[in-house]
Symmetry: C2
Subunit: 255 residues, 2 copies
């Protein structure tokens, strides 16, 4: 099953904000059993946001977006998504009531910017925002489950567990672990990793990450991951392969 991530906001594209949201969402999707297939970042431009959703709906089983749900003029994710797929926008009465209660408590006015946060595509399921105002949105389109989340990290994060519970695959478990290999160049280790990958024929994935010190490889983090129908089987596979890698390290060093 495939999952994709859309992050929305000029600040991400121009590098003012490092995209930690994409990483946190990707992590959740991965451990929920999905292949994270594509990440797209787009600026706060209606057509770009619409295009990003359009290019992934039908292709991915799950799409999670973050950003563009706040009160300012360029928070346009809901309308961009809804207009792209010609879904009417409606006021969610429950959210409207919550916003109203909140602003009355604070003694501020109801403005159209605040009202906007109660607007959702018709047919949405609302995800409560315990950290802020704008709710998250769940919407099903064709075969794709779409989750539209706020961009404020604490608000986004507070909804991830809820989404994980909604989409977690019961027959797909990733497990990963790693080992540090020292005193061997990545390029020297590479052919052995290729061999192991072939031996396990798609059941495992090995990725080496060279750690650098003063521009020289000081050690390599070799990460092994496996996906299977049971967490225990994934774990067993990873452990077995990590042991083989340590053996290869010993052999290469004793040459």
């Amino acid at each position: 099953m495939k999952a994709c991530v859309i992050t929305i906001g000029n600040e991400i594209l121009k590098g003012k904000t490092v995209n930690t949201n994409a990483a946190e969402i990707g992590r959740m999707l991965y451990f929920a059993g999905y292949d994270v297939h594509r990440g797209i970042s787009v600026p706060d431009i209606k057509e770009e946001i619409g295009n990003a959703f359009r290019s992934l709906v039908g292709l991915c089983d799950v799409i999670v977006s973050s950003g563009g749900l706040g009160p300012t003029f360029d928070d346009i994710t809901v309308s961009s998504f809804a207009d792209e797929f010609k879904i009417p926008i409606v006021v969610d009465a429950e959210i409207y009531k919550t916003i109203k209660a909140r602003i009355e408590k604070r003694g501020v006015e109801m403005t159209k910017e605040r009202e906007k946060m109660a607007l959702v595509p018709k047919g949405s399921t609302v995800i409560r925002n315990v950290e802020g105002t704008a709710p998250g949105i769940e919407y099903h389109l064709q075969s794709t489950k779409i989750f539209i989340l706020p961009g404020v990290p604490s608000e986004m994060r507070s909804m991830l567990k809820h989404i994980e519970n909604r989409i977690k695959l019961s027959n797909s478990f990733y497990f990963e672990d790693s080992v540090l290999v020292t005193g061997i160049y990545e390029a020297s280790l590479a052919p052995y990793i290729t061999e192991l990958m072939e031996e396990y024929n798609g059941k495992i994935y090995i990725k080496s990450h060279p750690m650098l010190k003063g521009g020289e490889e000081s050690e390599i983090e070799v990460e092994v991951s496996a996906k299977s129908e049971k967490l225990e089987s994934s774990k067993a596979l990873v452990t077995e392969v990590l042991r083989k890698i340590s053996k290869i390290e010993t052999q290469l060093k004793s040459r």
Copy 2:
């Protein structure tokens, strides 16, 4: 002029690695005068890498990618890009010599994994890697300048200045600055920002970033950016608008 960023690597999609490369590349492109238009992250899968380039060539004036240039089996950016556009792959004699000298100094063997790092699409200009082995690549396709960089941050970073010098626009200067607004909700400030944006009719961009403390807005960073043909004009515009925002803050507070 539009610029796009492609980041390649499973570790980014599954959130093991936070995508700082995309932010650093985006920052460079922005201050070189470009609108950063789209960011795409793809896993180490040939078709996905090819698709990402395909979807942006012709659409963007500049594409910068990072990742997938190392020695391991899944470092496949060069071949994925070249095969997608049917460009032959050739050995770069200069790079081959550098790699050979390097491994002889280290007393390790020339393997096909090391040789791979000297392969480039025919017609490329090579960008020297002063921090590691795999070179960067500059390739022009249709109207698009493509820069293919390594994913190791220090290596990627060492090439950014070179690229900036190659692509910097001489008639497009972004400038940005921000002011902290306290004691006003983002949604209360929002209509004034919309008004200012309308007054300046596309010449400036204002973005508010609420800072949260215990789930409540404590202050708002209001960022103003402007792009014009002269850096001085962009600066002057931003300063003028920031002054107006401070005035609005004072007015709202005195109510």
